[in-house]
């Protein structure tokens, strides 16, 4: 079980959190302006890297805030935790 450092509550057991998939996939400003393919990319396509991955988590059984995590999908190491709206930190 991961120990996830919630930016508001500090480190808590993974069981308190909900996973929210890839981060920084913004709802398009004007969906009507997108082609079917562009819209389908927003809906259905997500990265699946082996290595550092920016993803969303929600502290659903705690403060209920959403935030972003950079986690290495191969080792589960958490490189960074940051709030929604903040840019993705550069991971060396």
């Amino acid at each position: 079980m991961l120990l996830i450092p919630c930016p508001w509550c500090g480190p808590r057991d993974e069981i308190e959190f909900h996973y929210g998939g890839q981060a920084h996939v913004a709802y398009p400003d004007d969906p009507a302006a997108l082609s079917d393919e562009e819209w389908a990319r927003y809906l259905f396509f997500r990265d699946n890297p082996k290595g550092p991955f920016a993803e969303r988590w929600s502290h659903s059984a705690g403060c209920r805030r959403w935030f972003n995590v950079v986690r290495d999908t191969a080792t589960n190491e958490i490189h960074a935790v940051y709030r929604i709206g903040e840019p993705r930190p550069v991971i060396a």
Binding site: M1, L2, L3, D13, E14, H18, G20, A26, Y27, P28, D30, P31, A32, L34, D36, W39, A40, Y42, L43, F44, R56, S58, S60, R64, R65, W66, T75, N76, E77, I84, G85
Partner: protein
Amino acid sequence: MTATERPVQADRPGEVLRFRFDGRDYEGRSGDTLAAALLASGVRRVATSVKLGRPRGIFSAGVEEPNALVQVETPFPEPMLPATTVELYDGLVATGLPGKGRLADRPDPARYDSVHAHCDVLVVGAGPAGLMAAAEAARGGARVILADERPEPGGSLLGTAETVDGLPGRRWAAERAAELGGFDDVRVLCRTTVFGHYDDNYVVAVERRTNHLGAAAPATMARERIWRIRARRVVLATGAHERFPAFAGNDLPGVMLAGAARAYVNQYGVRPGRRAVVFTTNDSAYPAALDLAGAGIEIAAIVDVRRAPGEEWARRCAERDIEVRTGHVVRAAVGDGEVAAVSIASEAGGQAREVPADLLLVSGGWTPVVHLFSQAGGALRFDEEIGAFVPGEIRQAVEAAGSARGVPTLSGCLRDGAEAGRRALAAAGFAVPDPAPPPAVEHEPEAAPARHLWLVPPADGADHREHFVDLQRDVTVADVLRATGAGLRSVEHVKRYTTAGTAHDQGRTSGLLTSAITAHALGVDVADLGVTTFRAPYAPVSFAALAGRDRGSLHDPVRVTAMHDRHVDSGALFENVGQWKRPWYYPREGEDMAAAVLRECRAAREDVAMMDASTLGKIDVIGPDAAEFLDRLYTNMMSTLAVGSIRYGVMCRPDGMVFDDGTVIRLADDRFLVTTTTGNAAAVLDWMEEWLQTEWPSLRVHCTSVTEQWATVALVGPRSREVLAGLAPGLAVGNPSFPFMTWRDTEVAGIPARVCRISFSGELAYEINVRSWYGLALWEAVEAAGVTPYGTETMHVLRAEKGYPIIGQDTDGTVTPQDLGMAWVVSKKKPDFIGKRSFGRADTARPDRKQLVGLLPEDTGRLLPEGVHLVEPGGTRPLGHVTSSYRSAALGRTFALALISGGRERIGARLHAAMGAETVPVTVAHHVLYDPEGARRDG
């Protein structure tokens, strides 16, 4: 199983404990394991093997035991326990198993519990290395947990009888553990098996608290406790397990690991045989042989595959007249059902000689217990010196110490443990005190290199069918060769093909041997081939322990409404909707479900009826931007809703598929009450918060669940207005002053109430909402007005007659509002809302999409099962399936709702419901089968 008659060792010290095994009475001594007591009682055959039914004896003295599986029968049946780990108590009753146990046929009366703990340093294993690691960490002020699977600390010291600091090892360990117990922040857990090591040093262990007490176990004490430990650093001092080479008959009772025999002699005072042959590849079997000789067991010979054993050991053997045959191997253990003789030959070949013996000790070297290290994500590397895999790199704050990383000597393990403890201390941020002088140990003879012998080939012409690799799974070298012969090249595949390593001993003694034999067959190096992945649990753990207190009614919370007790009194049957208990129907004397539901439906359609609707999810949506927020969330317009009015709405996912539906009540300009389906209340609140936080943080909106704050009674039927008027004299109930889809605050039966005129039945109907603590009073007042209660089944029939879908029953996440025949709920005016863009995708416009339609079986009494598929007459291609199916009082027949490909185009057509060999003809109909104009609802 019959026990061979052998002398009982009655001269042992200790309190006498009586026990029963396989129907016969025996005596053991306090401190015995069942295995030790059986050996002392002359019992050699303890179990039979799972596949071949071969007799099996006691092979080891610990958790690694593959053979001696027993079932403890009292006080509560527990299957598949190694006799080597069952502590003897007075009155123990056990049975030997044929490789499989029997589950109890009654509920376990014992209590189980769990503990969450945090520490700076967790040390797993209280042997020499673990005790030193824990002592150093404790001395530096760290919070320490030391866990060990055995009843007492000491690890290998218990069996070897070595001394430390001039004390018998067992006493030295007890004193070190007692010292540790004196620290405030140190906890020593015995009988505690760490079985899982997960991310971020989340470590799970099971502590057995009362098993060893038998009938004397206090009823108030939890039988087992699960420890969920989060540790900053972990030191794995998990020791090593002895392994054995494959040779013919190596599974016979009487074949025993050398270190185990040594433990039986030293720790339990039990002689596991009278005349022994020792077969070894390394020096560690020599002190075992000498200890056995010292205990009066005749050592017929030491068979050492090496040319050069350790010089000092050879000398000591010569002093005791023990014959050492170097360069020799044991070709076979010989005997009918147990060892009677040992066939010895030169490794180079030549004539074998049979030596009479009743005990064959084997040592193929020592395999570090790397299970937890590997579970924790650590890489393993092959150590040529010890011929086994040892811990390599690891990302987590974990290190192995002592024989768990291949350290061969006691002095080395003591030193290694102390250093690991000091490193853990430093890494956890503590000041590291000056090192203490290392404990003194006995003289340690210089070791000669070990040989890594895996297989003694059979005598000419024989096969490998009695060369066992995995004793618990009855896997032989022949089985492994069949696997490699079939083309399998990965040890993972060989494992699955042969089942080697899949028994509940997890291949502790056999895993490396399986890899080595596979490598040998493939002509590759075992270092390159590797071993199979280690997975939790390290040792079996009962579901009861894992469940802990989360059993029965504590397994999942049960939610009941304020009116629940009244429903129970009324004889309602309940159905589970999520965690809620909802009245399903209210049968009267002599009624079955169908009769009750028809009566309840008739009351709602023809008279007046009532339902507890309190479980509907309710969310307050408040703030200056609340209207804008709901406009973006729902497919239809909510900002234009007038205060005092109500609108039905549908929410979709961005892909356009329906997610939930419900009503939106406008309480004020900046205040709405949203209802959700019962099962989706939490998901809808999550959905709202997700969008507000991650996409629209600038919207000034707050969402609060108020589901439990309100109790709701639905009042339904042509007479509902009349009943409401009687209960709420202050309310103008006439159609013009209180029209459909509006709400009013008033008093009902003297209780402050909000009455909403909405209908989920198609009838004239109201929903009366009161503060939940008035729910029961409201229910009783309405019922007293002569109103018939109905349950969820009737609710389903009524709504289905009207074609109202249940989200999650008539939809499955692939259905759009248009598919449900609700294009009217999708706004054309709003520039955007969640899902809108997807309604422009080619996929959502396909004419062959599955659409919600009604189905009328031609046999009007025939009830279609939900889920049944529909085909064209004579066809086989499934067009869709029945999602809801009921008997209708109003229609005087059965009917169903279904999702059918191109369904609306098929209205009026005949289809067949495919029910196995039978086909049932049905006619496709519009999904609204009752009062399509809505005259009853709006009147």
